[in-house]
């Protein structure tokens, strides 16, 4: 019997084997390619998604383990054409160069700000330590997350 997963509030049947990493189901079966492959060993964070609100490396999670838990990907953040405050903050800060790490950075930051509304730079560093940016945009990413915290407070989200 095929499994079903919920991604960005939408249900999808999955034909890939249940032990397939969620990343490949998202990208290759559901065509949600905003979540990126970077290493396949949970070391770079490019594939970060939220599973039941918690940040997870989708390359390390079998799709079977996501059954019954809502999954949020980068595509699920924008609401009615309005960017999520974290997306807006990254845009405002110009916090990307090649931007291949950006989806993962944003998802990790969304999760951080859900549990800590006003993180210090050190707390941002702590959480994003598992996300690799090879272009060296780290200072702006930290700035963007702090800016996002302000936006979130203003928007009361």
């Amino acid at each position: 019997m095929p499994i079903e997963i919920e991604v960005n509030s939408k249900r999808y049947p999955v034909s890939y084997p249940p032990n397939t990493p969620l990343l490949y189901v998202l990208r290759d079966e559901l065509f949600l390619s905003g979540t990126k492959y970077g290493c396949g060993e949970g070391q770079c964070g490019a594939c970060t998604v939220l599973i039941a609100g918690a940040p997870r490396r989708s390359c390390q999670i079998p799709v079977g383990a996501a059954v019954g838990k809502p999954v949020t990907t980068i595509e699920g953040l924008e609401k009615d054409g309005r960017l999520h405050p974290v997306q807006q903050a990254f845009l405002d800060a110009g916090a990307f160069q090649c931007a291949y790490c950006t989806s993962g950075m944003i998802m990790s930051s969304v999760a951080l700000l859900q549990s800590n509304a006003n993180p210090s730079p050190a707390e941002v560093v702590q959480v994003l330590q598992g996300n690799v940016c090879r272009c060296g945009t780290h200072p702006r990413i930290i700035e963007a997350v702090r800016h996002a915290a302000k936006l979130l407070q203003e928007h009361g989200r």
Partner: protein, 719 residues
């Protein structure tokens, strides 16, 4: 499959020079207007544009007779006023899609928002050697300015014809041509309507000096930033044309291994699986990546391996195997080093070792290939679309005109994406499958089968007089390359040589090429000399420097850093270094701390001053400069490729350490805007002085002089 295992010739340096003004023009424009619609276009003949593009001797060159004969457009103004700029350069995160659009908008006198760039598509853009050597800003920006300036002339002429008056006195600005005498005006869009006007780029057309720029020079945000923060931008690895298969390639267990037997019968029996065996290439394509992997796992092969040099013996090997041949370009000789050393009061002799490092772009190599009626289209994240096209044509024995290479904006490259490996693999599989095939390299493949910044050994001998004047300078670089090899210091007696060594690991370009290695050796050496002369490291450098641009960046960095600084706590150290390369000038100051117990090094602060002439986009430039500084930290402190028996032994992010958030210190980038000087590229040079500045700071803190890159892979204790 020569693309996979061939030993590429090390390219110590590759330059291309500005496309020159163009003459003679023969038509083949009809197709172009069919694609973009009517309007006004400025063309250039590719052959002439290339006449002054040059490559270094000793590697694959593009002979004139091989050049494409088609005519390329640089600019098009459509009937709706949309301006399209064309360049063969690729957007790889360095932000040229924005900076080049600014340049066009500025010179054409239109709104920034009305300009879009078509980049790196061999069917649509002018021929280009590749996106390397920090050449986009110094060559393509002025080229597009000349083109836009010519287009303004064309628009003025069109308006003059329309009004039946002389063009003199008409003004092209604000996207319209105005006649100041009568006050009437025509929008560019109106002038373009119903026309297919084309113009050759004239030999000379004055372009706007930087002091009068209005759109260039501004911190305009990345043009399509929203597509990146929403995940909508499609990198090569995200593309999926209809009926696409996923391809995977069987890799040898070690470098140089050859296939001796292959049983692919069970893989071939799998439904929907295509297996290709062609010489030493074995690959599969299947409807999904996991099916492709299963098929690959079902193939049983045997390989014959050959002995290989390991990383433990690499430096000894490099020095032993230098070839006797010198390239004159890489050799500088003046005065008598022997006499200079004899007259010196202090002499110094030191050797510096540089490890192989990997680019590790976060998007690994990927390609999607599609054959249609004998013609091949490939989407791939490469820095050299035209060279990739030529390589594909050669490998598949088809004319270059049958191959189109398109480069989606790419998940970074840093000099690491020159070759067409994934493109060739995808195309080979696609040809067999009769369907589009995507090949995305795994991280391990990227770390193993791409190419590296070459290792090197650098030997330096020097002498100074009693007052700290450099009297002799002898500098030998073995293998790592000749970029940045020439000393900027004034010295009467000098010998500088680059010694080629046959390749051990596949090697090629990397951000800054060997300039990082050569600056590390030189600036470390200069620091030791400063100590010997009992001079402040900044004063010692200044004493031996004449170039005002170099002095200016040193002064700017020192001022912001507060040089010379007094130590306020134990384990603290300060270092400084400088250099110039590719038309840019850089000086970096570092503050570090050595933890007494563990020997761990912490970089506390980096201050860098950078000057690259007139700044086109200070926001994008700052990203590039800070990015280069952070990337430079990795090679300075801990990045090193390790290998044994032809295998990379650390081919993952868990074993190959790259800079992460915790490694990033407080960073300050000072950008000196010289509107009186032509703009130079900025992607590479800001990386060069980071390692020596840190090394000099480590010495200042600990008294330990580190002569190898990386300096402290396991902290100072083990160094």
């Amino acid at each position: 499959m020569s693309g996979v295992t061939e030993r590429v010739v090390l390219e110590p340096e590759r330059y291309e020079f500005s496309a020159s003004p163009l003459h003679q023009f023969e038509l083949a424009r009809r197709d172009f207007f069919k694609i973009l619609g009517a309007g006004i276009a400025v063309f250039a003949i590719a052959k002439d544009a290339l006449a002054t593009q040059e490559t270094a001797p000793g590697h694959r060159s593009f002979h004139m007779e091989e050049l494409p004969k088609d005519i390329s457009a640089w600019l098009h103004i459509g009937e709706d006023g949309t301006v399209t700029g064309f360049t063969g350069k690729a957007e790889i995160g360095q932000n040229i899609r924005t900076s080049l659009a600014q340049t066009i908008a500025d010179e054409l006198r239109v709104r920034f928002e009305s300009v879009r760039m078509v980049t790196a598509d061999t069917a649509l853009t002018p021929f280009d050697m590749g996106t390397f050597g920090s050449r986009t800003t110094p060559t393509i920006s002025p080229q597009l300015r000349r083109v836009a300036s010519a287009a303004r002339d064309l628009l003025i002429e069109a308006a003059a014809r329309e009004w039946n008056i002389a063009p003199a006195g008409l003004v092209a600005a604000d996207a319209k041509v105005t006649d100041p005498a009568s006050g009437r005006s025509l929008k560019y869009a109106e002038l373009a309507r119903g026309k297919t006007l084309a113009l050759n780029l004239p030999a000379e057309d004055p372009i706007t000096p930087a002091s009068q720029w209005t759109i260039a020079g501004k911190a305009i945000p990345k043009v399509d930033g929203r597509a990146f923060v929403t995940g909508k931008h499609q990198y090569t690895s995200d593309l999926r044309p209809e009926a696409m298969l996923h391809g995977k390639v069987l890799r040898p267990p070690s470098f140089g291994a050859t296939l001796t037997s292959c049983d692919d019968s069970s893989a071939k029996a799998m439904t929907g699986v295509v297996v290709v065996r062609d010489a030493d290439f074995v690959g599969v394509a299947a409807p999904s990546a996991h099916e492709a992997q299963r098929a690959l796992d079902a193939i049983h092969v045997q390989w014959k391996e050959v002995p290989q040099i390991s990383s433990k013996e690499i430096f000894f090997h490099l020095k032993q195997n230098a070839t006797a041949r010198f390239d004159d370009r890489n050799r500088e000789q003046k005065g008598s080093v022997e006499a200079g050393l004899a007259s010196a009061v202090h002499r110094l002799d030191a050797t510096y070792n540089i490890a192989y490092i990997a680019h590790a772009p976060l998007e690994p190599r990927a390609a999607v290939a599609q054959w249609t009626e004998g013609k091949l289209t490939v989407w791939t994240g490469t820095q050299r679309p035209f060279a990739n096209r030529d390589e594909l044509a050669a490998v598949f024995h088809v004319p270059e005109s049958s191959v189109r290479v398109i480069v989606p904006d790419t998940g970074s490259a840093y000099g690491g994406k020159h070759t067409s490996d994934a493109a060739i693999e995808a195309a080979r599989l696609a040809r067999a499958a009769g369907r589009p095939v995507k090949v995305t390299w795994t991280r391990e493949e990227e770390f193993t089968w791409a190419y590296f910044r070459p290792a090197g050994v650098i030997a330096v001998k020097s002498g100074i007089s009693g007052d700290g004047t450099l009297t002799a300078w002898e500098f030998h670089n073995y293998h790592s390359g000749s970029s940045g090899i020439e000393t900027p210091y004034v010295v009467a007696n000098e010998r500088t040589e680059y010694h080629a060594v046959p390749l051990i690991l596949r090697s090629g370009s990397y951000r800054g090429l060997a300039a990082t290695a050569n600056h590390f050796a030189r600036e470390t050496h200069m620091d030791v000399l400063a100590g010997v002369a009992k001079m402040d490291p900044l004063d010692f450098r200044m004493k031996n420097l004449a170039n005002p641009r170099m002095r200016a960046v040193l002064e700017a960095a020192a001022k912001s850093f507060g040089w010379p600084r007094k130590k306020t706590q134990e384990g603290q150290g300060f270092g400084i270094a400088c250099g110039d390369e590719k038309g840019g000038y850089v000086a970096t100051c570092a503050e570090i701390a050595v933890e007494k117990k563990s020997g761990a090094i912490r970089i506390l602060r980096l201050v860098e001053a950078f000057e690259c002439g007139a700044i086109v986009n200070p926001d994008g430039l700052r990203n590039q400069v800070v990015g280069a500084m952070i990337q430079g930290l990795g090679g300075a402190l801990f990045e090193a490729i390790e290998f044994e028996n032809g295998r990379i032994t650390n081919p993952q992010f868990s074993s190959y350490r790259v800079p992460r958030f915790r490694d990033v210190p407080e960073i300050e980038a000072i950008l000196l805007d010289r509107k009186d000087l032509p703009s130079a590229g900025a992607g590479e040079t800001p990386i060069m002085a980071v390692a020596p500045a840190i090394g000099n700071a480590i010495f200042d803190a600990s008294g330990v002089r580190l002569n190898n890159l990386p300096m402290v892979p396991n902290g100072l204790r083990s160094a």
